[in-house]
Symmetry: C2
């Protein structure tokens, strides 16, 4: 277990290096190194002796975290050996061709040239789902990769309910005037000062800089070798510094989770996130629920002013708060605000489900996409480049990943509601820049448990409530009602 | 071969990361990762099947570079399997204890507390030399690790001759007034500007920044995953920028060698340096023979002035040239100039040899050290911290490494003499900042060959001459004669 975990960490570090430090001409040799390590990993992971050992330990009288490690490793191994090598290779080849085709298709706004690739990946993923096994719902088998324990039958009604609540809220807000954002868009923001302020934010949210670091990359991401080595990245846009600030808070939220796993789980299959949705709940909690709150900007606006004295002259915390909570139906998911964002996800979820169930042909994807955009957001993509071709996920064949984003948002609201109950001075602390009480509560209730429990069970333990849409919807109305002067029907 | 080479590259990258990027709290987990990769490496490297394959290929009709790869891998493997696991472990344990003891001993200037460690390491290295095998001279077996093909019987008279020529030169120079260095020591040099100029130097010497990078670390070093990924470091001292500039040129020289191995050798045992001495010849060539020449500073002094307009006002290339060629007997090897430097090495070589032959007891090391310092450099260390305890090498048990530094200096002078013959406008090019002709000549004659030939044979091919001290001694007199107004007896 230790050896395999070390190998995984090393692969993670090399991937981080590739995106941040590696000189460009090293790309090919890096692919060789990664391929060598990955094949060593798979060789060791599929040794029959490992199955014997895991079988011996399954059901043995072990401490809870060791039982979880055995359970998680057994599950992953069982799933791995079910996929024939032929399918592994075919998938890898199809992905690599599809990514190149997607880049071209997106540039040329030409879905037709990409369609055969997505069709092939869909077929292969269906085959993979059947190899993994399911009880009639193939999507369940894919979902299990990212969200262990979660079922489509649980998600579908939950997401439908969420959609029914979001559409009227978005419509109500869209009828109101937007906040004043001229101080952001009308200025140039020095990259160096953005970087310095981003690091202050990261330290302010109690990210341990002795056990991690932040660098720049084309797309922000977080990756962690282990609790003592968590690597985050952000990007700097001189025309909008809040891109860097919120991506710092977002990746910092992931980072706090990674730094918070109990040390006793180190190098076992019980460390790491319980699910991608739970991981996302931690990034969203810091980015949106904390980072887009008024108390947060009451503390940080004066600090931002010291870095940008001219641009920020006379800009109040209230003005920042309004500007960073601008809600507007838009075409691109990754640029969407926290209200409309989930409608982008639910669209993708429903299309994926229809595809996987054979109810939708890949040829009909653009039409289905555009129709749903009109229904839910009231806008139509002018071309497929800003529509069905905008995400890289399907060119990886990653069906089943999108729901984790919305699950993250739902979990985050439920978790924060419990934190507010447990910590009566939470918002007063945030207003004073004191983030440690919240971080400690999250660490105790969520982070330290790693993957000892399934995500939904862990959140239930922490919040005392079943997964539902209410906390998130309540949060949105409480925040955007006053901001946009709208009220619940 | 490919897998093992990839593993080595990855170990190199992780070690680079450890010295440059890794957050401090990750030290323990990094040790775990490295240990896992190293044991995987050794497991694969010692598989009996590998020996069979190598035996099959030995003597087979293969292209020259593949024959070299088989030869090099066979040699390394034969040596590896000769060392019993017990000795490997004992050495690792003794080294790790000795390094800690050395740090304390150096701080406390207390050789007695370190002496048992060096005695133990000496014993273990003698045992290792016997296990590897030799023809009566144990030192040969150790030398082979760093300088394949080189023998003590070849080095001893060569080094004695060198010493006999260096001592009078140093004495003659020491009787002369030192150059004016007030513009260096009397000013503070901005770290940012030093960094920018260092990168210009690196590009100026034709180091390919698309296939490598430079960062900062506590001690400058170079490490290369392969020809497309060469990583250099330097350090910045605000009181003396030439420390950063010459370490950039030094590591850059190593880097050009690493970038220059023929692509067809990639991932085989024929890529990499032919010896540590040859590697050092490339760093010394750029640092000293080129980087401390007058034509070099005729080009670079105006460029340095653009970074430090105030400090460099009125400082001529001739003044820089004189200042950076300051020769003075001093206590510390790593701070020594290029004339006295080799006397520090020859001292260590002779002591190591006496230790290894059982002619000197570790208890008598400080006295032997100090006596030789008096003889050769005319100075006595005030305490062992600045004497016998100054280097980390013996706490690693690295007997046999020091000679490679002096071999590097000898090779560098011989190689440059040939380059001057082949390139009549070499110094005119340097004066114009045009380094590509020299780099191309080095690449053709030295770099591209990797470890296809033994170092001494390769240099003989490139220079047409046997290894000797004359080119280096001639170089020193030609340079320092006019600088210090001294002449050869």
């Amino acid at each position: 277990m230790h050896e395999l975990r070390d190998l995984s960490s090393v692969i993670g570090l090399l991937t981080w290096d590739q995106e941040t430090m590696m000189p460009p001409r090293a790309a090919e040799s890096r692919a060789e190194q990664l391929s060598t390590l990955q094949s060593m990993y798979h060789q060791r992971f599929s040794e029959p002796r490992l199955e014997e050992l895991l079988n011996t330990l399954t059901g043995a009288d072990l401490p809870e975290e060791q039982r979880a490690a055995v359970r998680n490793m057994s599950t992953e191994r069982r799933r791995a050996v079910k996929i024939p090598l032929r399918l592994v290779k075919e998938l890898a080849q199809a992905q690599s061709l599809a990514v190149e085709a997607w880049k071209e298709a997106r540039k040329n706004r030409d879905f037709k040239s990409f369609e055969p690739h997505v069709a092939r990946l869909l077929r292969l993923r269906q085959e993979q789902a059947d190899a993994w096994g399911h009880t009639g719902e193939r999507y369940d088998a894919l979902l299990e990769t990212y969200e262990p324990g979660m079922k489509t039958a649980r998600l579908e009604p939950l997401f439908e309910k969420l959609r029914a609540q979001l559409v009227p809220l978005v419509k109500a807000i869209a009828a109101r005037p937007p906040p004043d954002r001229a101080f952001i868009t009308g200025n140039t923001w020095s990259g160096d000062a953005q970087w310095a302020f981003s690091l202050e934010l990261l330290k302010g949210m109690t990210f341990d800089m002795d056990a991690g670091r932040q660098d720049r990359s084309a797309h922000p991401f977080s990756s962690g070798a282990n609790i003592h080595d968590v690597r985050l990245t952000t990007r700097i846009h001189e025309d909008n510094p809040f891109s860097a600030f919120f991506s710092t808070l977002h990746e910092g939220g992931h980072g706090l989770y990674e730094q918070g796993f109990a040390p006793k789980l180190h190098r076992t299959w019980a460390t790491g996130a319980a699910s991608m949705g739970l991981h996302e709940s931690q990034s969203r909690l810091w980015e949106n629920l904390v980072g887009r709150s008024l108390p947060f900007w009451q503390h940080w606006t004066p600090k931002l002013r010291t870095h940008f004295p001219k641009v920020m002259e006379g800009v109040s915390p209230e003005k920042v708060y309004a500007a960073v909570n601008h809600v507007e139906p838009s075409l691109i998911r990754v640029e969407a605000d926290e209200v409309t964002y989930n409608l982008h996800i639910l669209l993708r979820f429903n299309l994926e489900l229809a595809l996987m169930r054979g109810k939708l042909s890949t040829r009909d994807l653009p039409e289905a996409w555009n129709e749903r955009m009109r229904q839910d957001l009231g806008i139509t993509p002018p071309h497929d480049g800003d529509g069905v071709l905008q995400d890289i996920h399907w060119s990886w064949g990653e069906f089943g990943y999108f729901p984790t984003y919305t699950l993250g948002n739902l979990y985050s609201a439920s978790i924060l509601r419990s934190a507010e109950k447990a910590l009566p001075s939470l918002w007063q602390n945030v207003r004073q820049g004191e983030m440690k009480p919240l971080r400690e509560w999250l660490r105790t209730e969520i982070h330290q448990h790693g993957f000892v429990y399934y995500a939904e069970d862990l959140v239930k333990r922490a919040t005392g409530a079943e997964l539902s849409v209410e906390p998130f919807i309540d949060y949105l109305w409480q925040k955007y009602g006053p901001l946009y002067n709208v009220s619940r029907a």
